[in-house]
């Protein structure tokens, strides 16, 4: 039900509301091809999986909180870290970012929908069903350990652990099929995003005037095309090994375990950038609005994004230094990994330059964004450390690596997802999220995040290997693990506050109006939530900040671009 947006006769962007049966509402969501609803389906589904993956992380942290703990069995622990990693990457990160892309891109470029609305719906549903199939493994299949058959081979499912001999039953098959199905959806959505951006921009919106968010999604989608293919191929090969007796990864029959590693990381490392580029995209929209300045270095930001996309395709084997790549491989992948910090650094400097001299408003989206800047810098620095092959030989597969990539995935990506949620929730729902609860969410989560992941570096440096089930008390890891687990409690409390904020604000929140942040891109020019058709008339833009031009006709950006 969409309320009227403005006083008087200005009700043109809000369709009439009629009471609906709940069955009609369900039917509308199941049959929708509207990009906004599909975007919200993606986001809602990802949030549910975020809670599930969070619970799995909590189980791991309880298990590791004290030495010699047996809170869960080793088998369950293996399933927890496998499902946590798989869920966070494939069923939280990808769908939530695609959800925001789906919702925002047509609105930002002045289009009425995505280029292929039905493909859009199909992409969502097949991804969603892939996730459900993966989780069905907990209750379905052969009952390998008498308590379900959830995958337990780690989120990157290294061979030969995935061979039938070492992974009997169907647990690994569920992993293959669930992730395979989500890959189909990812490629479909990427195709839609590219076509929409290339073909459906409104009048006046040249590529040079396009907001940075669609730009970054364009590069992300191109990377999806390249990265998903090798993973899908490798999964099919693994499926052939397991179902048809092929030997692609069977080392005893002439196959190669290292081949899987190459295939997986040719997907896996670009995947990190596939996840982080949309987070950058959110920062590109939020930081200028709350600094009251246009983004610094628009062209450099676009160029850096394209460079990151390109270089990220050539760094995968830094995940494999411990395999023994030889001098040439070590040198190439060390250099390539270090070089990617250059365009990434350009972005950080540009965000800082945008903040510099700005009239900064510390609203919840902005404080999450500022924390992102700091934490992503830390993640980048530990990344550079790990890019040096000799350093990686010492710390590869340790908790130092776990801490590093959680700084990327949580400290950068999840923080920007929260920022995006606070920033665009008013557009999606028509209601403001509570700033007070938002601040509680931010501070509790930040305290928890730093307790957990700052201190996780230390046992890693002391030699604690990742995926370890439990440890002896004399290793000296206990105090650090206890601190990490206490951090988890803060994070869990923060997430509960976030969920409460969403539910409460959706029902009783303050009306947002069309443009609560005094922003500049096209999505803020229509009602909140936007009508089905987005814009009654096709927008016409003359600069990168069309709403600034309208609000300030005496000094429009179009005079200076």
């Amino acid at each position: 039900m969409m309320p009227p947006q403005t006083a008087g006769a200005m009700t043109f962007d809000s369709p009439p509301s009629h009471p609906k049966l709940w069955l009609d509402a369900v039917n509308e969501w199941f049959t929708t091809v509207d990009h906004k609803r599909i975007g919200m389906l993606y986001i809602g589904y990802a949030l549910v999986f975020l809670l599930i993956a969070g619970l799995e992380a909590a189980v791991m942290r309880i298990q590791l909180a004290v030495p010699n703990n047996h809170f869960v069995s080793p088998q369950v622990f293996n399933r927890m870290f496998t499902m946590h990693g798989t869920t966070m990457v494939f069923f939280v990160g990808m769908p939530i970012l695609f959800g925001f892309g789906n919702y925002l891109i047509p609105l930002m470029i002045g289009a009425r929908d995505m280029a292929f609305p039905r493909l859009n719906a199909f992409s969502f549903w097949i991804s969603a069903f892939g996730g459900l199939l993966l989780y069905f493994s907990f209750i379905g299949g052969d009952g390998l350990y008498g308590a379900g058959t959830a995958p337990d081979v780690g989120w990157f499912a290294y061979a030969p652990l995935t061979a039938k001999l070492f992974s009997p039953g169907h647990s690994t098959d569920y992993w293959i099929l669930g992730v395979f199905l989500s890959g189909i959806g990812s490629v479909g959505t990427a195709l839609n995003i590219v076509t929409t951006i290339v073909c459906m921009r409104c009048k006046g919106m040249t590529m040079a005037r396009m907001p940075l968010l669609p730009w970054l999604y364009l590069v992300t989608s191109a990377m999806v095309f390249i990265a998903i293919g090798p993973l899908t191929a490798a999964q099919m090969m693994l499926g052939f090994d397991r179902f048809l007796g092929a030997h692609f990864f069977d080392v005893q029959a002439g196959g190669s375990a290292v081949l899987w590693m190459h295939f997986f990381w040719i997907f896996g490392h670009p995947e990190v950038y596939i996840l982080v580029l949309p987070a950058f995209a959110f920062a590109n929209e939020i930081i200028p609005v709350f600094s009251r300045k246009p983004i610094f270095g628009y062209s450099a930001m676009v160029g850096a994004t394209v460079l990151i996309g390109f270089i990220s395709l050539g760094v995968w084997a830094h995940h494999m230094f411990t395999v023994g790549l030889g001098p040439a491989g070590n040198t190439f992948f060390t250099l390539a990994t270090m070089i990617i910090s250059v365009p990434t650094g350009i972005k950080i400097f540009n965000w800082l330059a945008t903040l510099w001299g700005g009239k900064i408003r510390f609203a919840t989206p902005m404080i999450f964004s500022i924390a992102f800047l700091f934490q992503f810098l830390i993640a980048g620095l530990t990344g550079i450390m790990l890019s040096a092959a000799p350093f990686d030989w010492q710390l590869g597969n340790s908790y130092f690596v776990v801490a590093h990539f959680h700084f990327v995935l949580v400290g950068a990506i999840l923080y920007m997802i929260f920022a995006a949620f606070y920033y665009w929730f008013p557009k999606m729902s028509g209601k403001m999220l509570s700033e007070t609860l938002g601040k509680w969410h931010f501070w509790l989560f930040t305290i928890g995040f730093h307790l957990t992941f700052d201190f996780m570096h230390i046992p890693g440096l002391m030699g604690m290997p990742r995926r370890i089930y439990t440890y002896e008390a004399d290793r000296g890891w206990a105090v650090w693990n206890m601190i990490e687990s206490i951090g988890m409690i803060f994070q869990a409390a923060a997430i509960l506050i976030f969920v409460w904020n969403v539910v409460r604000s959706y029902r009783h929140g303050e009306e947002a109006g069309p443009d609560p942040w005094d922003a500049w891109t096209l999505e803020w020019s229509t009602a909140s939530p936007p009508p089905h058709y987005n814009f009654a008339e096709e927008p016409v833009v003359h600069s990168r900040r069309p709403l600034w031009d309208l609000k300030h006709p005496q000094a429009p950006d179009s005079d200076y671009e």
């Binding site: 200005m10 039905r118 199909f122 069903f129 199905l181 069309p514």
Partner: protein, 289 residues
């Protein structure tokens, strides 16, 4: 009131317009088939780890969804009509000329004919056969060499048979070669019939040279993998010549039937040339939407 006026009205309540005009636009209608297809494919996969009947159910659902989806977009896309407020100018324009979505079907002009494709295939096949016979006569003083070489695709033992054997008449060879040649010629003719109207510019060049060269290159490289012995026996220059003859004749037949080289046909929008039903008078800007 244009778009900018509307935005100002949204941003500043009270200053908005009070006289409202409306028009209708069309958006894709909701459909359940994408979800059903996603479920069907998932169930096909789930059958691998549960029970075969689940895969069968998935296959049935996927087939139903594929048909349902197809019927949702062809011959005409199902859309829902939405009334929206527009500016006075747009409303006046709409009353003078009814609003049409870029997807609204107005002109139905079939550009593709199965019959012309079959005719083109048969005519091209005949031209190709003539070149093959000429080749056989010049190189082996026999009408049958080329025919038997084609038949070797069906009779594996003929692949490394001596030239003298392939130069003789074999009724089973003639039947096999005729079947292979007719089938492939008609299929390629249908492809030509579909493709040339879609890409009408320089159609004879496409049909008579570019396509034959591409196909010959593909056939040559594949033959080396599929049957190296047969590949060595092929005279690829003559093969290319026969393909060019096929392409020129088949292209000419398509052109005669569909008039793809006419200015009127070439002026049609891509979607119409591609056989989709659409508005022939669609404007450049509308086409982008």
């Amino acid at each position: 009131m244009d778009w900018e006026g509307k935005v100002n009205a949204v941003q500043e309540p009270g200053k908005g317009m009070h006289a409202e005009h409306t028009a209708s636009l069309h958006l894709p209608a909701p459909t359940v088939w994408p979800m059903v297809l996603g479920l069907g494919i998932t169930l096909i996969a789930a059958g691998l780890v549960t029970n075969e009947t689940i895969s069968v159910l998935g296959l049935v659902l996927s087939s139903m969804a594929a048909v349902g989806w197809f019927r949702n977009v062809l011959p005409r896309e199902k859309q829902e009509q939405i009334t929206v407020p527009v500016s006075a100018e747009a409303a006046a324009q709409a009353s003078a000329q009814p609003f049409r979505s870029p997807h609204t079907p107005v002109l139905v002009r079939p550009a593709y004919s199965f019959v012309s494709g079959i005719e083109a295939g048969l005519a091209g096949g005949a031209a190709m056969a003539i070149i093959a016979i000429v080749f056989s006569w010049i190189k082996f003083h026999s009408l049958w060499y080329g025919i038997n070489l084609l038949a070797a695709g069906s009779f594996i033992g003929w692949t490394d048979a001596p030239d003298s054997f392939l130069s003789q008449f074999h009724p089973q060879g003639l039947l096999a070669a005729l079947a292979i040649h007719a089938l492939v010629s008609v299929l390629v003719g249908l492809l030509y019939g579909a493709m040339l109207p879609i890409f009408p510019r320089k159609s004879l060049l496409t049909a008579g040279l570019i396509a034959p060269l591409l196909w010959s290159a593909l056939a040559c490289s594949m033959m080396k993998v599929v049957s190296p012995i047969l590949s060595e026996r092929m005279n690829w220059w003559w093969f290319v010549l026969s393909q060019v003859a096929y392409g020129l004749v088949a292209g000419a037949v398509i052109n005669l039937r569909v008039k793809v080289r006419s200015a009127e046909f070439q002026a049609l929008p891509f979607a119409t040339r591609a056989g989709l039903h659409t508005d022939a008078k669609i404007g450049k800007d509308e086409g982008r939407r």
